[in-house]
């Protein structure tokens, strides 16, 4: 497996903590598509759009944004990071991604998640009490739809399908489906049992914090008869590639702190992330993928060594990073970081083989 490096965005609409400007949704959708184009030109492997049903994100319909991105890109894989599958109709999800797959000549991909943000449940009439059952059933249906059409299927949360003609089909043989895992042991185990690729989210904390998660995932996969070493694992993290170590931190800190203030609550309200705490997250032992290109290379290689990952997707615009700085980081990631990491990982694989 070649090592893949990509970016993802939630299409944040956040007031710039430095200038005080609030970008318009129209500006943000255009900027999102521009990020995809620049990532593609910089040679990155993956572009992802997350799903959030709130006014401070423009990504409530990631498939529409991915379809627009398909039209301005050539090589890059287009994925959802994530599709909140529990509150979706898997048939519709398939139809949309298969359409993106045709538009992009086979570049569509689905990362299915339970949803760490749960706004979509009441919006589409689902009960949070069914959180686990919904995901299990809908993932099952999505995988069946992917496998075959016409399809006969029966479940608990929607009407049965009888010889249903579900179209279009994928551009090639299939569309990859990954499962997003936040780090709970049970999610890792059920994903491993299904033999599906795992997209692991690491927000903050020690770089080693998912060792057990990956261990449980691989063990569950082996036990269920899958070849665990052949299963891709990806790490999805926040980060920023700067010119220098110092410039990266100076640039990212105010935006990341803003994003955390708005999304990470204690006692029901946001709280300030101190620079000291931020710098600790940026240190070599922590998960944040930030720094000079060389620092980011080193940390990605550490991730690879720790978890045997095949892919890293980095979110660099959290908290409303201005477009100019965001695009510069995407270019550095594509031109300065990715080629070195791919080469180093390939060399490691060569030694191991």
């Amino acid at each position: 497996m070649a090592f893949e490096i990509g970016i993802m965005t939630f299409g944040e609409i956040t007031r710039d903590p430095v200038t005080g400007d609030l970008p318009s949704p129209r500006q943000r959708v255009r900027e999102t598509i521009e990020q995809a184009r620049v990532a593609d030109q910089a040679g990155l492997d993956v572009f992802g759009v997350g799903e959030h049903h709130r006014g401070d994100f423009v990504g409530s319909a990631p498939t529409i944004l991915l379809a627009a991105a398909a039209a301005v890109t050539e090589q890059i894989r287009l994925t959802s990071s994530v599709t909140v599958l529990s509150s979706e109709d898997p048939v519709r999800v398939w139809e949309q991604f298969a359409t993106i797959d045709l538009l992009s000549a086979g570049r569509a991909e689905i990362i299915a998640g339970r949803g760490s943000y749960t706004e979509s449940f009441p919006l589409f009439g689902y009960d949070l009490a069914d959180y686990a059952d919904l995901f299990r059933e809908k993932l099952d249906l999505l995988l069946k739809v992917r496998e075959q059409s016409p399809l006969t299927w029966r479940g608990h949360f929607r009407a049965p399908l009888t010889d249903a003609d579900i179209a279009p089909r994928a551009n090639g043989t299939t569309i990859p489906v990954w499962v997003a895992v936040g780090g709970s042991p049970a999610s890792a185990i059920s994903t491993g049992r299904l033999g599906l690729p795992m997209a692991l989210a690491l927000l903050l904390g020690p770089i080693t914090s998912h060792e057990q998660t990956v261990e449980l995932y691989r063990a569950a996969a082996e036990k269920a008869g899958h070849d665990a070493s052949a299963l891709p694992v990806s790490i999805n993290v926040h980060g920023y590639v700067g010119r220098t170590s110092q410039q990266a931190r100076e640039t990212m800190y105010p935006y990341f702190a803003q994003g955390m203030m708005e999304n990470n609550h204690q006692r029901g309200a946001g709280f300030p992330l101190s620079r000291l705490a931020f710098d600790a997250q940026a240190s070599p032992g922590s998960g944040l993928l930030i720094g000079s290109p060389q620092e980011v290379i080193d940390k990605l290689l550490t991730y690879h060594e720790l978890y045997g990952i095949n892919r890293a997707i980095i979110q660099m615009g959290f908290g409303g990073m201005p477009q100019k700085e965001h695009l510069e980081a995407i270019e550095r990631l594509g031109t300065d970081v990715a080629p070195v990491v791919r080469r180093e990982v390939a060399a490691r694989a060569g030694v191991a083989a």
């Binding site: 686990a132 780090g183 709970s184 042991p185 049970a186 999610s187 185990i189 059920s190 449980l216 063990a219």
Partner: protein, 204 residues
């Protein structure tokens, strides 16, 4: 409703050994489907492989006004009296509860407030709790064990804790917790075996 019927996973009465081992679960969860009972299901199905037993359950949140309105033992309705007796006469009591507001729920405590002071003396009690995160784990040692210390019960040395992330819905997936159940129940089986041996010697 005073008690759930015999639980899935519980083995029938031992054919040879006379009266089957009575396992009584006191369930402190208010939910009909709960992680707490998911943990207990894993315990009972592991126990099935070790000893024959009959399990029953007391759902404290389903005991009704005859329970919640009772200030003293004399105040309870016959159904509640029967549930209390069942717990008092168990061979193995499984005290299982979610963590609420940093401890076991008041309803769970109310049940034990009505239990006779000496009814649990030297009784084998297995402690089990579930919580939103690992930071609740010591509720077993700092809240549950002292409660049964009062009763002079014989709490099983290994107590069981599982977090939300260890479950898919209410099904316990984390093999580390399953491993800990195995360890706890090995001790339980030893203790039960010793007691059965003593009883036979005394009866001979």
């Amino acid at each position: 409703m005073t008690a759930a019927p015999a639980l899935a996973g519980a083995a029938p009465a031992a054919p040879a050994a006379g009266a089957a081992l009575r396992v009584v679960v006191v369930n402190g969860s208010p939910n009909r489907q709960s992680k707490t009972m998911g943990l207990v299901d894993a315990v009972l199905s592991t126990l099935t492989e070790m000893v024959p037993f009959e399990a029953s359950r007391v759902d404290v949140y389903r005991l009704g006004p005859g329970f919640t309105g009772a200030v003293e033992r004399d105040d309870v309705t016959p159904e509640v009296e029967q549930a209390l007796k069942r717990a008092e006469q168990a061979d193995l009591l499984i005290a299982a509860t979610p963590v609420f507001r940093g401890s076991y729920p008041g309803m769970f405590k109310h049940f034990f407030d009505l239990i006779d002071q000496y009814a649990l003396a030297n009784k084998l009690v297995l402690l089990a709790a579930t919580g939103g995160g690992e930071h609740h784990a010591l509720v077993l040692e700092h809240a549950l064990r002292p409660l049964f210390g009062f009763f002079q019960a014989m709490t099983v040395p290994v107590a069981l804790f599982a977090s939300s992330g260890d479950f898919d819905g209410t099904m316990l997936l984390n093999p580390r917790v399953h491993g800990r159940i195995q360890v706890a129940l090995t001790d339980v089986a030893d203790l039960l075996g010793a007691r059965a041996g003593n009883a036979r010697t005394a009866g001979a």
